[in-house]
C-alpha cells in the first residue's frame, strides 16, 4: 500500500472510511482536566490573557465558548448528539481595541478545539466581496468564501456592505450570498463581522436576517489610561526599548491628553506615539554625536515624548 501510494508522487489510494469513534458506556467517567490538556486550548487562552491587556468581557466570552466546545466534545464521546453550536460573531468597538488581533487568536483556538479544520483567518473588506458591474459580485464573494472555508472569515467594517442610499448597490447581493453560506455551510466556516458600534447597529437594523444569524455580539470596550500604559510598555518591550523612570509619568500624561483629542484610536494611537518617539530618539542620539552605550540605544527619555504636538496646548 505505502509503496504504491508514493510511486511517481501520485496520490494515496482511498483508504477505508474512518471507523466510527467508540461510544463510551453511560457509566463511564471522563477526566475533564485531561481532555482540556489534550486540546492544547489553554495555550491559546493563556497567550490571549498575557498578550492582550484589558478586554475582560471579550476574554470571558471566549473562555465560555472554549468551555462549551470542550464539553460538547466530551458529550460527543458519550454519543450525545447536540448539534453544532452557531459561532458566527460580531465584534463591535472603537478603532484600535484589538478586534483583528482577537479574531486571529479565535481562529487558532477554534482549530485546536476541533471546531474548524484549518484555523486560518481570511481578512476581507467590502472591496474583496463586492463587484464593479452586474454579475461580478456573486463569483467574487463565492471565491472569498471558498478561500475561507475551514477557517474564519473576518469582514472588517462590515457595515460598508450595505449602502442604504443606493438601492442598486451590489453590496446587497454580497450580503445575500453571505447569509446563504452562513446558514448552509455552517460546518465549514465561521464568519466574524467587525466594525464600529453605532454603524454596526444601523447595519443590523436594516439587515435583520444578518443579526439573527449571529449568535455572539461581542463589544470591545475602550481602554482605560492605565491599560493603555500597560499596552505601551508591552509594545516597547517587544521592540527592544524601555521607558526611563522619568519618562513614565510623561508617557502617562501624554496618553491622558491624547485621549481627549479627536481621532483617538486606542492601542493604534499608542503604537503611533511610540513610533514617533523612536524617530525623535534616533535623531536626538545622532544630533548629540559621540559615543553611545547600549542603554542609550534602548531608553526612551521624557524629551522624546515632550516634543509631541499633544503637549503644545
Amino acid at each position: 500500500m505505502t509503496e504504491f501510494s508514493m510511486r511517481n508522487g501520485s496520490p494515496v489510494a482511498p483508504g477505508e472510511p474512518l471507523p466510527p469513534p467508540e461510544v463510551l458506556p453511560p457509566d463511564a467517567r471522563v477526566d475533564l482536566a485531561r481532555e482540556r490538556a489534550d486540546s492544547h486550548a489553554d495555550e491559546v487562552l493563556d497567550a490571549l490573557d498575557a498578550e492582550l491587556i484589558g478586554l475582560v468581557p471579550v476574554k470571558t466570552r471566549i473562555r465560555e465558548i472554549a468551555a462549551l466546545l470542550l464539553i460538547d466534545r466530551v458529550r460527543g464521546r458519550f454519543g450525545i448528539d447536540s448539534g453544532r453550536p452557531n459561532l458566527h460573531m460580531c465584534f463591535t468597538g472603537s478603532p484600535g481595541t484589538g478586534k483583528t488581533t482577537v479574531a486571529v487568536r479565535l481562529a487558532e483556538l477554534l482549530h485546536r478545539l476541533g471546531y474548524i479544520r484549518k484555523g486560518h483567518l481570511v481578512s476581507v473588506t467590502r472591496d474583496d466581496l463586492v463587484g464593479q458591474y452586474v454579475g461580478h459580485t456573486a463569483p467574487k464573494t463565492k471565491e472569498v468564501l471558498k478561500r475561507a472555508m475551514g477557517g474564519v472569515l473576518f469582514i472588517d467594517e462590515a457595515y460598508y456592505l450595505y449602502r442604504a442610499e443606493n438601492e442598486r448597490d451590489y453590496g446587497q447581493e454580497a450580503i445575500e450570498i453571505l447569509l446563504q453560506v452562513m446558514e448552509n455551510n455552517r460546518d465549514d466556516l465561521v464568519v466574524v463581522l467587525a466594525g464600529y458600534k453605532d454603524r454596526m447597529d444601523s447595519f443590523f437594523s436594516s439587515n435583520p436576517g444578518m443579526s439573527s444569524r449571529i449568535a455572539h455580539h461581542i463589544d470591545f470596550p475602550d481602554y482605560a489610561t492605565d491599560e493603555l500604559e500597560a499596552i505601551g510598555r508591552l509594545m516597547t518591550a517587544r521592540e527592544g526599548y524601555r521607558l526611563s523612570d522619568e519618562a513614565e509619568p510623561v508617557f502617562r500624561s501624554y496618553l491622558e491628553r491624547r485621549r481627549e483629542q479627536p481621532r483617538f484610536a486606542n492601542a493604534r494611537s499608542v503604537r503611533n506615539a511610540l513610533e514617533r518617539a523612536r524617530l525623535r530618539h534616533a535623531s536626538r542620539l545622532l544630533a548629540a554625536g559621540g559615543e553611545v552605550t547600549r542603554d542609550d540605544l534602548t531608553t526612551l527619555r521624557p524629551e522624546d515624548f515632550l516634543a509631541s504636538r499633544v503637549f503644545e496646548t
Binding site: 508522487g9 496520490p11 479544520r117 484549518k118 471558498k146 478561500r147 472555508m149 475551514g150 465549514d188
Partner: protein, 139 residues
C-alpha cells in the same frame, strides 16, 4: 458500459467523503483543483468543458466539493471530473484526475470497421450516446 479513466479508474466510484480526502491531499501538495464536465464519453475527447476557472488559494476541501456539487446540480446527467494541476517546474502537468459523477445509464460504444484500399481495415469507436445532440445524450 461503465467508462473508466483517470487516477482511480480501477476502483468503484468514490464517495463524497473519499473525494474530499483526495482533494485535501491535492491541496496539501499545493495543487489547485478544477472541475470539468462533458457528455461526449469518447476516450480521445480530452477537452472537457470547464466548470468555472481553476480554484487557486484554497486550503480546505469544502470549497472544491461545493463547486463539484454545484456542477452536479447543473448537469445531473453528465460526466464530471476533478483535476488537480501540479505547477511545479519540471512537472507542470495534471497530477490527479478522476471522475466524480457519471450518468445513470451508459450505453457504451460500437466498433465500426471500414474497408480501406488494399483490403486494409480501419477501426473506429463510436459512442452510442453521441447519436443524439449535445445536451440530450443522457436524459
Amino acid at each position: 458500459m461503465r467508462i473508466t479513466q483517470g487516477t482511480f479508474s480501477f476502483l468503484p466510484d468514490l464517495t463524497d467523503d473519499e473525494i474530499s480526502r483526495q482533494i485535501a491531499y491535492a491541496l496539501d501538495q499545493g495543487w489547485p483543483c478544477s472541475v470539468e464536465f462533458t457528455d461526449d464519453p469518447h476516450p480521445r475527447n480530452s477537452y472537457w468543458e470547464m466548470w468555472g476557472l481553476p480554484m487557486f488559494d484554497l486550503t480546505d476541501p469544502a470549497g472544491v466539493l461545493l463547486e463539484v456539487n454545484e456542477c452536479r446540480k447543473a448537469y445531473p446527467n453528465h460526466y464530471i471530473r476533478l483535476n488537480a494541476y501540479d505547477a511545479r517546474y519540471g512537472r507542470q502537468t495534471t497530477a490527479l484526475s478522476f471522475i466524480v459523477q457519471r450518468p445513470a445509464a451508459e450505453p457504451g460504444f460500437r466498433l465500426d470497421r471500414e474497408e480501406a484500399s488494399d483490403r486494409r481495415i480501419r477501426y473506429r469507436t463510436h459512442a452510442y450516446a453521441t447519436d443524439r445532440p449535445q445536451g440530450e445524450r443522457y436524459s
